[in-house]
Assembly symmetry: C6
Homo-oligomer: 268 residues x 6
């Protein structure tokens, strides 16, 4: 998968993505109706990959912004920079996406400052407008533009909640870990290991996920299985590889570490 | 509905709006008496559309500002920018509205910083003045200028309360979801689906709204029904469309998701 | 009442103000003794109007500053602005008032940042000085200068309290709603309605004020009665006008709204 | 008392001050031993006047800084300002006092930011040095320089405490209201009223001070008695004058207001 | 060990490091698979030394960033500086590492501001990209680049937790104090003392580590033993050296100090 | 004791300091082994004087920085200043100390912002490096450089704690008040009073220190005894001098003030 070195990523090769329900179809229908989309789900279960595939199918550039506590409206929309004594305006990623008709994907939107979620309101309803206060200008998004946001309901807290006035503008999708056969296939394809080993890794992941109610914050993501597969394919023993990529990565709690070690021993 | 690409939106075509009480008449009377207005109500029930219609009827430009935690007085009134080594003043949206005799609509005012609510005080009483401290200037609003603010009483908290000294300057309107027949008509008009389907969607919305006391944060807004309608008209199955536009959008709680799925199944 | 478009408002026409006790006389005596004044009282009961009348009687310009959470010392005293590569000093409203011998009225002083209340200390005792740290200069106020501040004791909290070291520099006045006959006369004069209707509106206000201990945050101010009067004079039905200007403005609580509706029905 | 219009106030006329103990003598001895002083006591009991008298007796300029929440080290020491494209250093009041051998009086020091209290440490011990980090320079104070700070122990809280590492550098003085005869003499001198009236005002003050344990935050200061005296001398009735200058100034509590009104009635 | 005076440290001499498990082998395998690594463990147990050895073995420059509360994205990625009136971009250490294919080690990552942990997300998954918003550029890391982060689980709190969405991108290693024989050898090599003394110091460390559950915040690190060894080799008595380097360094609690003194007496 | 007027203080005359244990010897050994030192102890017990003496014995310049809440990394390391339109770098005191091989003493380090304590980590372990992120440069400290920090364990709180990862880099010393004979000698030398009076003052100090558990925040420091001695030598009565320099300085509590007065009366 090659990428041009700009914030607007053109997906040249078809990204590997296995559809679970009709999510690609519905998202494309939303796109053609000018509706924005919201992806919900745990970390590492394929939301980013889904966006890459969607962008590829719609042949639109994909601009991804990882949101965080200090992400401000200016970081999204743009700001003036001093160049040669002049204040020169520089578009932010959201403005660039609106101007060029790209897909703008705001990853983990609830992590951003509140102003960020409000600034997308006029863009996320039938106005499809982006007011740029500092330029005294309002952009109307072309039909090619799409807004997508994601968040992890597992992290949802009173402070980091997505307001109803924001939510009720989006077509929403719940993402989850893929079913075992599918997940094994993904692990095999991405790490280059054999099918039986991939299946064992998925078995292990399923067991860690069932520990979520017993004190483990989150189960192993598909990504971690791919990491384990890669180390094993490079000659690291399966148990050692699982310890470094899964067990020690998931927790620091000594009892939980022991429980995960036992799971590994029972499988490899 | 076409718009000129400036922050001051001229409403060229009559916006579709169905009056429920005399709200348009009273708001116009307030306008002619130089009184500001306050719109109260849940998200997606038509406050923004009401403002567009009012602006159209009064043939005034509409300047909308979505308020948020970091919106400061300078964002509303204006600031100095450095251009060619000179500090050049740039009017903010509120100042622009006062100078040009537009309608300035501050959406979700309680989300803004406290200074923002205080700065509108002299503009919201019989002085109708906007002091611009940084220019050492005080603008007197022309009769054409109108100030409108909105907030959602459902979100009201101790921290995000509208002070009595602010409230007691406004003529106030409570907005709510339209009555079923009216709402079905709106959904039909805006999404292009048939009347019976529109009625079923309204039935569904009514059922979700009745769940508000049972743990659902807020019921489905009219906007979500329009989204569902659009997806259905594009060929998505009603149940699938309702899941993506309504169920998954309203909540992340698994029990509540199941309850909403059941409602959908009983209708479609 | 005409005003020149500068922050320093010259009151050209005698503002309508009905004295309740000797407040105008005492305030003028304080002025001639070089003492600052403090106005206490609920919102919309005439403090701003009192200041306008006092300024008119003393033939001094009136500079009003609405205080808020982010009002800093620099906002009051002044700051350097970059102009043509030079830092050019610009007087703030308080400095301007001291230099020109105007009346400076700091409305809702407790809302401002603490530094603001301390910076007026040397100006509010027998030194009558304003130190401008950034210019390395100390201004001595001319006898024509007067300092006035206001606050609403109803909002008083531990965080937003006026310190004794600040209070004990002022001659203080408690403001309240005017007695019924007086208030009816004000409503009649300002809105242009007939005496009986004005009396009914005052009756209504009195009833809302008695609800303060029953959960209403604050009763209707004289200002709201004037709003109601204006809408009625423009042809809106009294009940409808009272709902929009008084009931919906005072509260969002549904039980309280019903109680206020009943009061309206009993009167109109 | 005339003053030159700079932050460094030269006291030209002998300020009226009645010594209660040996405080002037001890303070002058501290000065000649290069020791800094700390004034403790309630508002309006003469700390500022004491400093003016001390400065007059030592024939040193007096530079007073009212401390507050946002007073930073730069406000005291100095900062760079842009002038003609150059960063030009500008001494703050403390640096100016050290350079010119003046008395620097930091009023209500505990109100300032913590860095402010730490920055005076090397100046307040036997080093008598002021490091100016931004200039990379350390000033050694000349013998003529004196540091004085004040605070009100009544306001002392965990957050606004004077650290022992700060306190244990100062020679300290407790200030309080003057004894009745002395206070009456001060009120008479400063307001121009007759002796019997001055005595009655002091009687009233003493009664308010005894209410401190019954819920009054602080009793009437000498300053308020002078205010009352001035209004009375200008023709205002004593009861009315006491209400405006003392009763309404001291409290907003209605029971306490009634108690104070009764005290006034019993005296005038 | 010589170093060039730039932030990118070239490790010229083989750093002394004793491998405990296969950690160097696994880390090198992770490197060759383009996977980032996470080091977990208490202070002073060799994490920094491990990174130096790894960098030496991979012959890559090592760029270390000590994270703290105020470390922002700009500190890592870069910022514009004004030079000759122009805004000149200056790479931060992370950008420099990506451009030059170095190892970037973010020490105590959880101490940094949240944005810092999010900004490394696209760099820590299979995208291996660093978006530089301010340049509107996205760098793709060359295969030589490696990302490493560390944190101390003992300090882990709700506020300073490493989010699962961050953790689940890394191959993880738990570090701990080396086994006694190994630790004695390290102390001997680094401080130049004899084997028996080194063993006694390790005995002492082990005893302090067992006090962790009895109120001691953390046991003595290997580093402190080396300090003690160095002072002893320079002629300081062992008891005195242990008091200064271990006892007084570990705690301020007088009972705990006494307990540690007793341990010292029992050994030397 | 003369000093050059730069932040780097050259101690020309041997500072008066009486060694209590081997602290000077151990500190010099730490210096020759390139180890940093940590001074712990109450205010005014000689930590600053110890540093001056150490600097004198090592013939190194001493750069002292008083830490506070707002002390940032830039204050220590340096910053860019605009001069003639150019950004000119200016070393902070820590950088200056590293470059010139001076002793840098960070007084009350825990008062500083967290970033300050982290920035000294690479300087306080065997790397002895100071990374200057903004210059993209890393300084290696010459052998002549020494880092010293101090803090007062009595003030230690959860928020103002010295992290183990910081502590475990230093050789530590606990400071306390000198034994009576030594303290009397210091008081005599520094204030110029006779031996019997000095002994009485030490007696008084000892009594105040024993009150620490009875509600006094801290006992009288040696410095306060010197202050008392100086006032007495200038002719102030001992009781009066003790009241101003010790009693009123130590506390504001009236019961405690009475207790301290009684102690004074029993001695003088």
């Amino acid at each position: 998968m090659k990428k041009i070195a700009t914030a607007a990523q053109i997906i040249a090769e078809k990204p590997f993505y296995l559809e679970q329900a009709e999510e690609l179809h519905i998202a494309k229908t939303a796109y053609h109706n000018g509706l924005p989309i919201l992806l919900k789900g745990p970390t590492g279960c394929g939301k980013t990959r889904f966006m890459q595939r969607l962008a590829w199918e719609l042949t639109r550039p994909l601009i991804t912004v990882s949101c965080h506590d200090d992400l401000s409206t200016s970081d999204l929309i743009g700001r003036f920079l001093i160049k040669g004594g002049e204040a020169v305006w520089m578009d932010g990623p959201l403005t660039k996406a609106v101007r060029t008709g790209a897909i703008c994907y705001l990853d983990e939107i609830v992590e951003a400052r509140k102003d960020t979620t409000v600034v997308i309101h006029p863009l996320a309803d039938d106005r499809r407008e982006l007011p740029i206060e500092k330029l005294g200008e309002t952009l109307t998004a072309p039909p090619e533009f799409m807004l997508a946001i994601s968040y992890n309901p597992g992290y949802q807290s009173v402070l980091k909640d997505l307001k109803q006035s924001t939510r009720q503008r989006f077509v929403s999708f719940e993402f989850n870990y893929p079913p075992p056969e599918l997940e094994a296939r993904i692990v095999r394809e991405e790490s280059g290991i054999e099918q039986p080993l991939a299946e064992k890794l998925v078995q292990m992941a399923t067991m860690t996920r069932s520990l979520k109610d017993s004190g483990l914050q989150e189960g192993a993501s598909t990504r971690l299985l791919i990491h384990a597969g890669k180390l094993i394919r490079s000659g690291i023993q399966p148990r050692t590889a699982c310890k470094a990529t899964i067990t020690e990565t998931l927790t620091d709690d000594h009892e939980m570490l022991a429980a995960l070690e036992e799971i590994t021993s029972s499988l490899f």
